[in-house]
Every structure is written in structure tokens, then in C-alpha cells.
């Protein structure tokens, strides 16, 4: 997959932004996320979407996938800790927490999170100091985009 770098790196300093809804939200929420994470932002794009790649000073790397219609349809993260998932999953956070708790009861043990609901997919893997996660709303994937592209 060929990615085109659209813009350089820009650094955004901490500003008093309100809580932003990321997954399912508008592209405007990306700036709020960058500010809250005090992250550096790099963007790249395909024909179907733009990836906003945020590097936080904690070492956490968050990617937000934004459709050409301006909606965040997927997010991924990687780093020594999780990012602020309430901020990142926005209106889907409570659904995620409930599913995480339900899965824990079913699993009879500990392991990676695999939430596969009709309206929400969340997968989290890793161990102390190394976590990886991705979340997307299947209905919001742009036409022709496969879930496997979200990495």
C-alpha cells in the first residue's frame, strides 16, 4: 500500500481542549487528541482515507483513520502503556468496558481482549511495557477498505 505524506511534522502544545470523541467522531477531534497527548502529528493518505499518526512523549503511538467524509472510523495504538481509551474510543468507551468485563468472566483467565460486536471491534494485546490495540466500527469502513488494513 503506497502512502503519500501530506504534511510534515507539526508539534501542538497543550491547550485547554474539551474532551473529544475520537472513534466515530469528526476529523476535528484529531487536533484535540493531539493537544491532549502533547503529541507530534504526521499524516499520510490512501485513496480512501487519511491516517493521522500521533507520537506521544510517553512512547505511545496512536493512529486515527479518517474517511474522506471526515469521520474517524478506526484507531490503533502501540506503546509501553495504553493511551487514554476513554478519549480515543469516545462514545464507544462504555460499550468497550462492558464487553471487556464480560469477556473476562467468560475466559476463566487472562489474555488479549477480542471484542467482536456487530457495531464495534476492539482488540488489545501485549504485556507490561508493550501493548498493541486497534478498534473500528465495521459499518463506518469506507467502501473497499478491509479491516486488515487497520494496523
Amino acid at each position: 500500500m503506497k502512502l503519500t505524506i501530506l504534511s510534515g511534522i507539526l508539534v501542538v502544545f497543550l491547550l485547554p481542549f474539551p474532551a473529544a470523541a475520537s472513534l466515530g467522531g469528526d476529523v476535528t477531534s484529531v487536533q484535540a487528541d493531539v493537544a491532549r497527548m502533547q503529541a507530534t502529528l504526521q499524516t499520510s493518505s490512501t485513496d480512501s482515507y487519511t491516517i493521522h499518526d500521533m507520537q506521544a512523549p510517553t512512547g505511545v503511538d496512536v493512529k486515527e483513520y479518517v474517511s474522506n467524509a471526515g469521520k474517524v472510523f478506526a484507531v490503533t495504538w502501540k506503546g509501553p502503556v495504553h493511551p487514554d481509551l476513554q478519549q480515543l474510543l469516545g462514545p464507544y468507551f462504555q460499550q468497550f468496558v462492558q464487553a471487556e468485563q464480560a469477556e473476562r468472566k467468560q475466559r476463566h483467565g487472562h489474555g488479549p481482549v477480542v471484542i467482536q460486536q456487530p457495531g464495534l471491534v476492539v482488540q488489545i494485546s501485549g504485556h507490561m511495557r508493550s501493548f498493541y490495540g486497534r478498534a473500528y466500527v465495521p459499518q463506518m469502513l469506507p467502501a473497499g477498505v478491509q479491516a486488515e488494513e487497520i494496523r
Partner: protein
């Protein structure tokens, strides 16, 4: 998929954490003999038995290994209790004990402002929240004095900070943990490392000071962080060997040992084991499976209760209700290749069975063949440890094969 490499480096300071102290417990003094087989035949003061029988009984846990830890008030040899049902976890570092299982009083750690230090520890499937306290720990003949541990679910700190809740759902009860605590004996000397010593946006937000229910992120020195108990042992402090019997299908139980130290005694020699060094920042190595390479994205984790990996083009079906496990119609014999950062490679054969069938009996606590999906990483959970001797060497600690971090088997 090639790895995404980041430049963030943690300060790898080990200063000030070694406390040499004479053990106060007698332990046993039998000689150490290792048969070379899995799971038995070794004895000594550096060895502790482990078992997959969970403290919660039937239906509470599958594919975990548990042990017991003696916890004493700091400086006391009488104000002690032995806590069993503690999950042995190579995927984390540090001892965490449920408040509900703790009856001795420990010393509360305080921050620079005098307020108690409380930790939020993110695991893959949730967070643990609770105060950092110091204890004297004894495991057979090994003793860790003034060890910072996390007490989970303390009623004195019942309000989990919002910053911690943002990492996921708390698992602060016995029902959530399935254990009385977690004995983290992973590749790292502390749970957080350099990031938590930094202020501002660099700090990942694991340590707090709390004034009542008002908690704020604080910096935490390396010496004060919740630490891998092994580095506090006067000897045998460079890592652990987990030695478990083999398991075929679903069994009632599997037993074995955790042996402290690597190459420090006759019962923990590396022998013919291959050393796979891991990324010093993240603790990962590389696994290639079904032509997909998980570069710097694979790990051994006794605290994961199955092998978790993406079957990608093999399309192994997940179970109908237990969608976090695979349910192939017949048992699959598979293999993958592991590669360390040192370039060492080796092939691992493993089986994937039908999880619905394998977990049908709630009293079968040891199951080989349990596996599930996991896009992005390759998690070699407890079934990997069955029938193997697996070494976990701690970052910065010297061993006969060089300094950790590495895994060897």
C-alpha cells in the same frame, strides 16, 4: 508485518535496589538435583512448587499456574502470613496482592508531599488499582526485604482515579483476577521503569499520590517502584526458570516448579537451552507463523491462559460463544519459528484444539491446545510452558549467557 520502531528509550537505571540481607527463614537444605525432565526432580531452597489448581475452584480458571508467597510486615519475622493462589506471571514484574487476601499490616509508601502512593497498573485486559506498600517477602528460602508491592482493591483507596479508568476496566476483586494476587517475574526489574521517573507529558501515569479520593499522577523513582521480587533476593536474583510437566489435551492439573536464579545453582543451569534475547524496551522477540512475521511483536507469557495469535490465511474458526478461542473441527498440528534479537532461531511445534471440547469440564485446569485470535502480536501463553524448562532473565542482571533481558528454552 515489519515492526514499527520507536525511538523512545527508557532510562535503564538499576541503582539502589539491591538489598543484601540475611534470610530469617530456615528453608530446607536438601541437595539440588535436576533430572532434566519437565516438572519434577529438583530440590533446593531456591525452588517453589507451582500448580494449575486455582484458588477459586472449578470453573474459575483454566491454564494458569499458582504458587504461594509469605508476606511479613517489614522487619518482622512473626507478623507474617502465607498467601496461596498467587498467579505466576512472566508477562509482568512485581508482586500484587488482593487486599481481601491480606491480613498483615504493611508499610504505606508516601510521596514527597507526604501523601500515600497509589498505583494504576495497566494489564492487557484491565487495570489494577491500589496502594504501594513495602513488605518482607519469603518464597521458600528466598527473601526480598522491604519490597515495594501493590495492594489491589484496598478499601482505603476505593475510588479509582479517572486517569486509571481511562486505561480500561478495573480488575480489583478475586472474581476479576481469579487469584489472590500476581507474582510478576518477567524480564524487567520494575513494572514501569524510566518513564515513571519523568514529569509532565513524558510520564505514563502509573503512580499517583492521593489525598482522600483526590489522586494526582506523581513521579516515582526506580528504587520506589513496584519491583520484580527476584532482583531483591540476595542470591539467585538474575531471573527464573519455570519447569512444568507436559500436558496432553485436557487434564485435571499440571504441576512443576519455579526455580529462582539462572546458572546460580545446580538446579537452574541453562544446559542446552537456546537463549533468545528480547527487545530491551518492550521485552519482545520475533515469531514467524504461516508466512507472517511478527517482528518485535512476540512474547512468552505464563500469565496468558492460551496461545494467542492470528491464524490469518489459515482461517481457524473461533468458537461460537467463546469468540476469544479457536474451535477447529479437529486438532491442528502447527509450527512457528522464533527469533531472538541476537539472531538465534528455533522452531516451535504446537497444537490447536477445539476450545469448546477442551474446556467442557470445569475441573480440568490444565489444557494443552487452547488457543485464540490475536491480531498484531504472537502471545505464547501458558501452553507453551508445558513440558518445557523456560528461563526468563531480567534486564541488566548477569547470567552465564550474558545479561538479560532474554528468554531461553
Amino acid at each position: 508485518m515489519k515492526p514499527m520502531r520507536r525511538n523512545k528509550l527508557f532510562a535503564l537505571s538499576l541503582a539502589g535496589v539491591f538489598i543484601a540481607a540475611a534470610g530469617c527463614s530456615g528453608g530446607t537444605s536438601s541437595s539440588s538435583i535436576n533430572t532434566g525432565g519437565g516438572g519434577s526432580g529438583s530440590s533446593g531452597t531456591n525452588i517453589q512448587s507451582i500448580s494449575s489448581t486455582p484458588p477459586g475452584g472449578p470453573g474459575s480458571y483454566v491454564d494458569g499456574v499458582f504458587t504461594s508467597v509469605t508476606v511479613c510486615s517489614p522487619g518482622s519475622t512473626t507478623n507474617c502470613q502465607t498467601i496461596d493462589g498467587v498467579l505466576l506471571d512472566t508477562g509482568s514484574s512485581g508482586l500484587r496482592i488482593l487486599s481481601s487476601a491480606l491480613s498483615v499490616s504493611l508499610s504505606q509508601q508516601t510521596g514527597a508531599n507526604g501523601d500515600p502512593v497509589v498505583e494504576c497498573l495497566p494489564f492487557v485486559d484491565g487495570v489494577t488499582w491500589g496502594p504501594v506498600q513495602t513488605a518482607d517477602i519469603t518464597i521458600n528460602g528466598e527473601q526480598a526485604k522491604s519490597l515495594p508491592i501493590q495492594v489491589i482493591g484496598s478499601s482505603n483507596f476505593s475510588t479509582v482515579s479517572n486517569g486509571c479508568l481511562n486505561y480500561g476496566a478495573p480488575e480489583d476483586t478475586f472474581a476479576d483476577l481469579g487469584a489472590n494476587g500476581i507474582l510478576g517475574v518477567g524480564n524487567f526489574p520494575q513494572d514501569c521503569g524510566g518513564g515513571c521517573t519523568e514529569s509532565g507529558a513524558n510520564n505514563p501515569g502509573l503512580y499517583y499520590t492521593c489525598s482522600g479520593a483526590n489522586c494526582e499522577v506523581t513521579t516515582e523513582s526506580i528504587a520506589n517502584q513496584v519491583a520484580n521480587p527476584v532482583i531483591f533476593f540476595p542470591t539467585d536474583n538474575n531471573g527464573v526458570l519455570i519447569d512444568l510437566s507436559s500436558v496432553s489435551g485436557a487434564q485435571a492439573n499440571v504441576t512443576g516448579s519455579v526455580i529462582f536464579g539462572i546458572g546460580t545453582q545446580s538446579n537452574n543451569a541453562l544446559g542446552s537451552a537456546t537463549v533468545y534475547t528480547v527487545d530491551p524496551n518492550y521485552g519482545n522477540f520475533t515469531t514467524t507463523f504461516n508466512n507472517v512475521t511478527y517482528g518485535d511483536n512476540a512474547y512468552l507469557d505464563s500469565g496468558s491462559n492460551a496461545l494467542y495469535f492470528d491464524s490469518n490465511t489459515m482461517n481457524i474458526p473461533v468458537c461460537n460463544d467463546l469468540t476469544f478461542w479457536y474451535c477447529p473441527s479437529s486438532t491442528l498440528n502447527l509450527s512457528a519459528t522464533n527469533q531472538g534479537f541476537n539472531g538465534a532461531t528455533g522452531t516451535v511445534s504446537f497444537v490447536v484444539g477445539n476450545a469448546d471440547t477442551l474446556t467442557a469440564n470445569d475441573s480440568d485446569y490444565a489444557v494443552n491446545g487452547l488457543a485464540g485470535p490475536n491480531p498484531g502480536m504472537f502471545d505464547w501463553g501458558l501452553p507453551f510452558f508445558f513440558g518445557r524448562k523456560v528461563f526468563t532473565a531480567i534486564e541488566g542482571q548477569n547470567t552465564p549467557a550474558g545479561a538479560g533481558p532474554y528468554v531461553a528454552y
